[in-house]
Amino acid sequence: LYYWMRLTRSLEERLVNLYRQTKVVGGLFRSLGQEADAVGSAFALDRTSGDILSPLIRNLGSMLVQGAQPLEIIRQYMAKGDSPTRGRELNIHFGDTVRGFVGQISHLGDMVPVMAGVTLSFKMRGEKRVGLVYVGDGATSTGAFHEGINFAAVQRCPLVVIVENNGYAYSTPNSKQSAVKEFKDKAMAYGIPGIRADGNDVLATFDVTRDAVDRARRGEGVTLIELMTYRRKGHAEHDNQSYVPAGEIDKWEKQNDPIDRYARVLLEELQVEKKELDAIDARVSAEIDQATDLAEQSPAAEPTDALVGVYADPAVVEPLWYRAGVRSAVEKNERAAGWGTFNG
């Protein structure tokens, strides 16, 4: 667990460096301070049973646990031709149902019905597999969330729904998102259990998720888990968080950093030696360095690849008749339009 959390954080820090070097195309999204909720919950799935999760933008950690590689992540962020989506989609928007994570789309809430269907198929086929879908506090307001979770609840699909309550949806605080005091109460609307846990405690997160996963695997249906955490960075790198009350971020950083907390547990309660953690840190660094080097050498996307794979049949869309060949109007390392910080 410590490894995955550290990997998540360090990998994102590396991406920040690359972003500053304008090597990242598009925005950069951080999960700083939320690593425990992503990693702890994903860890509760069974990777040998074919369990599948659907990550959101702050679930890099969950994807890594399921087997996503740092190299893939960096290539994605650099829009490389050999990235998992071959440059079609941004950042961590990619998936692999074999390893057990589905490629998300931007439209919030949509993955809930999709995962209802994924887990419906498990049920229909009598497979003992479980699905897990993440939504933010903000995404609970979408109609798709509502329709998907209700459908799954009625069908008793083997699905766990995790609401990551990190206090904000972009700049919008929870008080403007919903009049509920606790998001776990949303479960009441679907006749399913709703549980709240400390998302910055990786072990608590693991435990509560594991219970829900077991329950799902036993055929007892959907559980909603609210994990309490905090988004210490802006919505994306460009966001200066001016809307956050002074001191709030600091307080979470100092008193409630999930990695610090888990390290303390390891060192103080579980008698792990400091050097073991240092060794993990070193391993993480080395892995990321290596991935970065490889990713930098990756080729750019191939223009005509844009025409491939819209349909199974026809496999390739015909090129526009007036396109003699392939053009590349792109300057190297062009900085893409940062949303909100666009200075074209």
Binding site: T85, G95, V102
Partner: protein, 325 residues
């Protein structure tokens, strides 16, 4: 074999495909014990049970999304919209999630969304819609809209077997109005191929769905009254569009009338006109003309609906002008 209706042909296709492939299952509102608002799925639940014939909550985005998820895992869901008008509630799911799944995430999405569409039945503005134009500009989707009972059967079977998401629009005006004997055996009609519904040499009418029948009636009248030989091309599939068939009929008659039941502005006729321009401009001896619904929400009262929708007399009068051009 006995003749069966357009509606029965669709039901037959569902039975045959569920029988053939255990991955095929149906979802929708009231499709189980009740058999669906139009009774299309009648009897399915008796044969295949609640597991494969699922009554859903009123959640079009929810169950369309669920169909997508199941289809990623190798299932082949066939989703009924109680009326196709409610597909608008799943518009985001269809255009953003489903249409792009293969392209952006290499996720197979073999599913069919089907449901009663179209007007001429006093359904009013929310039970008469023709939604094809709303989806025509979404790469990743296929759109089918059959006009005959055998095409309905054969194309639905093809749609269910297709590895891409298919929107399958059924014209409710035709459900019980037309009958036909089904071809023997495993009758599959390929997606993407138009059909010449009537051969002719003077004017081409390009159309699909219920207005195929209006066009045929007009063609008959024009033959009788004016001695005009009208060709009627039934597109059957709107996406991908059968350019070859379109160009062939244009080259044959040099005069084109496009007819559709949907509202005029932004309807499918525009796309067809653009393609003819690109591929066969030199063969045009007259402007491409359109007979369509007027640009208003479809009203309910019979005199209003009749006034708004295209009628045989409209087709006759415009075809005459084209022939005389």
């Amino acid at each position: 074999m006995a003749e069966i209706t357009y509606l029965e042909a669709i039901r037959e296709a569902l039975f045959e495909e569920m029988e053939r492939d255990a991955n095929v299952f149906c979802m929708g509102e009231d499709i189980g014990a009740y058999g669906g608002a139009f009774k299309v799925t009648e009897g399915l639940i008796t044969k295949y049970g609640e597991q494969r014939v699922i009554d859903t909550p009123i959640s079009e985005a929810g169950f369309v999304g669920a169909a997508a998820g199941a289809s990623h895992m190798g299932m082949r869901p066939v989703v009924e919209m109680q009326f196709i008008d409610f597909i608008s509630c799943a518009y985001d799911m269809l255009t953003n999630y489903i249409a792009t799944a293969r392209y952006r995430a290499f996720l197979p999405c073999p599913l069919v969304i089907r449901g009663p569409s179209g007007g001429y039945v006093r359904g009013g503005p929310f039970h008469s819609q023709n939604p094809e134009a709303a989806f025509l500009h979404t790469p990743g989707l296929k759109i089918v809209y059959p006009a005959t009972a055998s095409d309905a059967k054969g194309l639905l079977k093809a749609a269910i077997r297709d590895d891409d998401p298919v929107l399958f629009f059924e014209h409710k005006y035709l459900y019980r109005r037309i009958k036909e004997e089904m071809p023997q055996g495993d009758h599959v009609v390929p997606i993407g191929k138009a059909r010449i519904a009537r051969e002719g040499t003077d004017v081409s009418i390009i159309t699909y769905a219920a207005t195929v029948w209006k066009a045929l009636e007009a063609a008959e009248q024009l033959q009788k009254e004016d001695g005009l030989s009208v060709e009627v091309l039934d597109l059957r599939t709107l996406l991908p569009m059968d350019d070859e068939a379109i160009v062939a009929t244009v080259k044959k008659t040099n005069r084109v009338l496009i007819v559709h039941e949907d509202t005029r502005t932004g309807g499918v006729a525009g796309e067809i006109a653009a393609r003819i321009n690109e591929h066969a401009f030199e063969w045009l001896d007259a402007p491409i003309l359109r007979v369509t619904a007027a640009d208003v929400p479809l009203p309910f009262a019979p005199p209003l609906e009749d006034y708004v929708l295209p009628q045989v007399a409209d087709i006759v009068s415009v075809a005459r002008r084209l022939a005389a051009y």
